[in-house]
Symmetry: C2
Amino acid sequence: MTDMDAYERLIKTFTPRDDLSSDDIALLRSMPLRIATYGKGEEIIAQDSEVSESCLMMTGWTGRAVYLESGKRQITALHIAGDFVDLHGFTLKYMDHSVVALTATQVAFVRHDELKKITHVSPHLTRLFWMLTTIDGAVQRTTIASLGRRPALERLGHLLCELDCRLSVVGLAQDHRYDVPLVQEELADILGLSVVHMNRTIQDLRKAGLVTWQGSRIVIHDFGKLTQFSGFDPRYLNFIKRER
Amino acid sequence: MTDMDAYERLIKTFTPRDDLSSDDIALLRSMPLRIATYGKGEEIIAQDSEVSESCLMMTGWTGRAVYLESGKRQITALHIAGDFVDLHGFTLKYMDHSVVALTATQVAFVRHDELKKITHVSPHLTRLFWMLTTIDGAVQRTTIASLGRRPALERLGHLLCELDCRLSVVGLAQDHRYDVPLVQEELADILGLSVVHMNRTIQDLRKAGLVTWQGSRIVIHDFGKLTQFSGFDPRYLNFIKRER
DNA sequence: CGAAAACTTGAGTTCACTCAAGAAATGTGG
DNA sequence: CCACATTTCTTGAGTGAACTCAAGTTTTCG
């Protein structure tokens, strides 16, 4: 995991969803990448800025943060290894949110002119990059449904189910055990709760016997039960191989 | 407006964001469309189905509805003339939500094999279609921020500002006046509120003197003030012409 | 080891929810 | 075109989930 190069990382993001031809792979490998590292808490991309490259996560956790006038913050998405955090910036340029490193992070930047080139030479890869942004949209819809219609405890349960699935695919979770290197204030900003209520909700989840959660280590005791309790259906993550 | 054909409708969705060449336009016009109409309340696309075409709104209002196990419903997005409701279906196929007609509706379906053809012959149009899905994502992020961090009254104000902008662009709002043909239960499902609280929030907005709202007719008295009150910044709608 | 950050608990408040019922508007059949 | 049924809107009352403020405890880190 640790010495995987950025191209491998990118290829592994696509392959659970569709097969890549050797031409596709060669083309991906021809894209110049700029590797960068960030410390915990650093801002990788500023809200309201204009971008000319997009960033693929190699290691660490990042979040998309929207800062409101009121001083409140909402984290609209969480990103881990293999996620293309701001690929939407390719077609939008304008960043309606910032990207912050929630842990020490390594990312690979791809210039937009390289992506543009791909739209000229590979319709298939173009559709796959496009797909990454639409999967992102599907995750966002699920978040909207959670924030709008699920009480705090179910919301947290749903998030843990989603993270379990996503972390498993990139090898960061095994047997429904994984690390969430986030403080409760960050979790609160993801789930739209106050810090105090976040804390109490975590305790409720522990008391319900659904998880063990010590420090950053999470163990889901009965994944099926948590899934059912929180109404989690993994299909929106589109981890299914098909012609795209 | 009424006799505008579907191709004009589509072209007018792109042109506020980028210029189209005559080749682009010719290519769009070469796509076969299937026009369909739906009555108020009808389901246009079912949740959990697989799709092979995507639908462009001609007239009426539709919503993307997520139905939860609890019986609750969240409307994750609202769509009006010119919106490509489920263009994300092109790259995903699987529908994580249903699309429902909130009023009588006319739509134009485009087959996915036609869109696929476009990815082979026009990189520029491909990027523009892709852009439509990423703008959709930007709207969703704003919704997440609203649901997570804004109280009911601001949430409603923000929605009205967004609708004002979007309806204006397609000629359905003038001077900050427009019709919202939705019942309070639907608005509640959009804003993540109960029907009773939705009703009281509308009354609060009226009492605050920010809008007149009789039947479906909405008049925003001071758009700048409503904008400021609800923290609305239209940039996320990407109504800006640039090379894409 | 001490300071800072993160977590936890208590207490009081507020925003939003549910249940219930009545009023107003809308639609439909005779 | 009216009368009745249904839907939608509105109001009241009580409840509950989540919030704020404040302080104490534990953990982390230099």
